[in-house]
């Protein structure tokens, strides 16, 4: 074996270690028996995993994150499905501009989105914290919803809608009878992608969170500033496995990767 032939396998191993390593360290740390967040873990116990469920603020912020992920994604889909339909089926003037504006939250750093929302929406209009978070998460998920739903609409021939109309359906009826059933996979995928994106979102939520109203990731940061025990690692592990589980199930039943 020459050095040259080892180069690629070694690089590959380093990349994998770099990507997966931190995750493995966190998972290992969550089973620690010690009092502080440390690696390598001291002993083995499930006490920190058990503690996660007893922290009051975690429960509240988990509920908030869940509400934002489900509600924000649902709202993004309600806006995003008709928008995707219009973008894919009609030659509209300025369609490209709309496409770009809709994708903006992906490209613009979260910090800037958060600051802008705070400075120009939340403060001047005195928007409540929960509503502000809800609007922000809807806007953040919208690009994913439009992108994924558009992809599945582009794969669907538009003449089936005309066929439905000629068989007696109205235009709107045709949308619900023959378009929606055929993009269900795309909508489910968009929902899952949106849910995970919203749930893991930090920078925007950081700006908009306020007294008593926090998302789970923001709450975890706040918790770590005060208490440096392994329960945050335990919670991170639980969330990571939840995300992996959702994506795995989605891939298994929907062919998730086709749409994303």
């Amino acid at each position: 074996m020459t050095l040259r032939s080892l180069f690629i396998p070694i690089t590959l191993l380093l990349v994998i270690a770099f990507l997966i390593g931190p995750f493995l360290i966190i998972v290992a740390a969550s089973f620690s028996a010690g009092e502080t967040l440390a690696f390598p873990p001291q002993g083995f116990s499930l006490r920190w995993i058990a503690k996660v469920f007893t922290v009051e603020s975690f429960r509240a912020s988990f509920g908030m994150s869940l509400f934002l992920a489900i509600g924000g994604t649902a709202a993004a889909l309600i806006l995003g499905i008709p928008a995707s339909y219009a973008l894919s089926r009609y030659k509209l003037p300025g369609a490209e501009i709309v496409r770009t504006v809709v994708s903006a939250p992906i490209i613009v750093p979260g910090i800037i989105v958060g600051l802008a929302l705070l400075r120009y929406i939340v403060v001047p209009f005195q928007v409540g914290i929960t509503l502000a978070l809800f609007l922000a998460h809807t806007a953040l998920v919208l690009p994913y919803a439009v992108r994924v739903v558009s992809a599945s609409l582009d794969n669907l021939r538009s003449d089936i809608e005309e066929a439905a109309v000629l068989l007696g359906s109205s235009r709107l009826g045709a949308f619900f009878r023959v378009v929606m059933p055929n993009i269900r996979g795309g909508i489910m995928s968009a929902f899952i992608l949106g849910f995970v994106t919203s749930f893991n979102q930090v920078p925007v939520s950081l700006f908009l969170s306020g007294p008593g109203v926090r998302t789970l990731p923001v709450d975890m940061i706040a918790y770590m500033e005060i208490v440096f025990d392994p329960s945050v690692a335990a919670l991170s592990s639980l969330l990571a496995f939840l995300s992996i589980g959702i994506v795995f199930v989605a891939e298994r039943f929907l062919g998730f990767s086709r749409y994303v």
Binding site: D159, A163, V178, N182
Partner: protein, 341 residues
């Protein structure tokens, strides 16, 4: 409404934005007729079909069907069926549900629906495929589902977009027979759009040849095939040697040539390659190309008149490339053209 105008298009003008696709089209179609709209792509045939279906708004003029003006009637209330070129079956529904789709929208339920769908499927020979999804069928089977789906609605007019173009040669014959049988059994008025003259000749009662949004010629398949009235139609149906007439003389690259026995009022003359007689005649040409087509052999000749295509029985002795041949364009065989475009 007279019998001759079950479906009539009156001064129909259709446009996409500012570009006019069909201008001032007049066409009367009898009940139960099988009409072909024939023409090259961009001639307006598909646009006309979409306007009859109500999928395209009419700019000016009228569409009348069975005595009623349907120009402004929405597509879903017209009782006009359309079999799409891509078939446009609903991929998420079974064959049975595809055929039942329109009937259910009409409010049909229970045993009546069941009977109707089953008989629709039976009539296209697909009874045993009722539970399959469209993706599990061959192209030919999908097309028959599309036909059944339109026909169970008992449309007043059935439109067919390039009905044979996606099928291989064997299925083509099968589908052609099928369409003619359906037409005979139900008496439905059928209009199909095609760019393939062979398809139009084989299937239609009457052919409407279109060019640049206008009707070029209407006639029986025999009329269109044997008596094209314009150079465009002649060229489209295979008259490959076409010359304009000027002051009664044929205009060629060798100048004006006097032919005896030509019709006096014609604007041009056209010969099929088969009508050119090789071996004797007043003209001379050199063989530039030759191709063997089984029963016959085709020659491309370089002549002082311009290029000439001739076709002779394959049993005749073959001529080599570069051979000099005499030939004739017999005036009595030529199709006289009224318009030269």
């Amino acid at each position: 409404m007279s019998d001759a105008s079950y479906l009539s298009l009156e001064k129909l003008t259709l446009a996409y934005g500012d570009s006019v696709a069909v201008a001032n089209l007049d066409l009367n179609i009898r009940k139960g007729e099988l009409i072909a709209l024939l023409g090259p792509s961009g001639c307006g045939k598909t646009t006309t079909m979409r306007a009859i279906a109500g999928l395209l708004a009419v700019k000016s003029g009228h569409v009348r069907l069975d005595g009623a003006d349907i120009t402004r009637v929405p597509a879903n209330k017209r009782a006009v069926g359309l079999m799409f070129q891509s078939y446009a079956l609903f991929p998420h529904l079974s064959v049975y549900e595809n055929v039942a789709f329109g009937l259910k929208l009409k409010g049909m339920r229970g045993p009546e629906l069941e009977t109707k769908v089953q008989s629709g499927l039976k009539s296209v020979g697909l009874s045993t495929f009722a539970n399959r999804k469209p993706a599990e069928l061959s192209g030919g089977q999908q097309q028959r589902v599309a036909l059944a789906r339109s026909m169970v609605m008992e449309p007043k007019v059935l439109l067919l977009d390039e009905p044979l173009s996606n099928l291989d040669a064997r299925l083509r014959l099968e589908m052609r027979t099928e369409l003619q049988r359906v037409q005979k059994e139900t008496g439905v008025t059928m209009i199909f759009v095609t760019h393939d003259q062979a398809e139009a000749l084989a299937l239609a009662d009457r052919i409407v040849v279109m060019k640049s949004g206008k009707i070029e010629q209407i006639g029986s398949p025999e009329d269109i095939y044997n008596r094209p009235t314009s150079s465009f139609v002649a060229d489209f149906v295979g008259f490959e040697n076409i010359f304009p007439l000027e002051n009664g003389k044929m205009k060629t690259s060798a100048g004006l040539i006097d032919l005896s026995g030509k019709p006096p009022s014609a604007a041009g003359l056209a010969w099929r390659p088969r009508m050119v007689s090789l071996g004797t005649g007043p003209f001379q040409g050199t063989v530039r190309g030759t191709s063997f087509a089984g029963d016959s052999r085709e020659y491309l000749l370089d002549t002082s008149l311009g290029p000439i295509k001739a076709e002779v029985e394959a049993s005749q002795p073959a001529h080599a490339l570069g051979a000099d041949l005499f030939f004739d364009l017999p005036p009595e065989k030529a199709a006289p053209l009224l318009r030269f475009v």
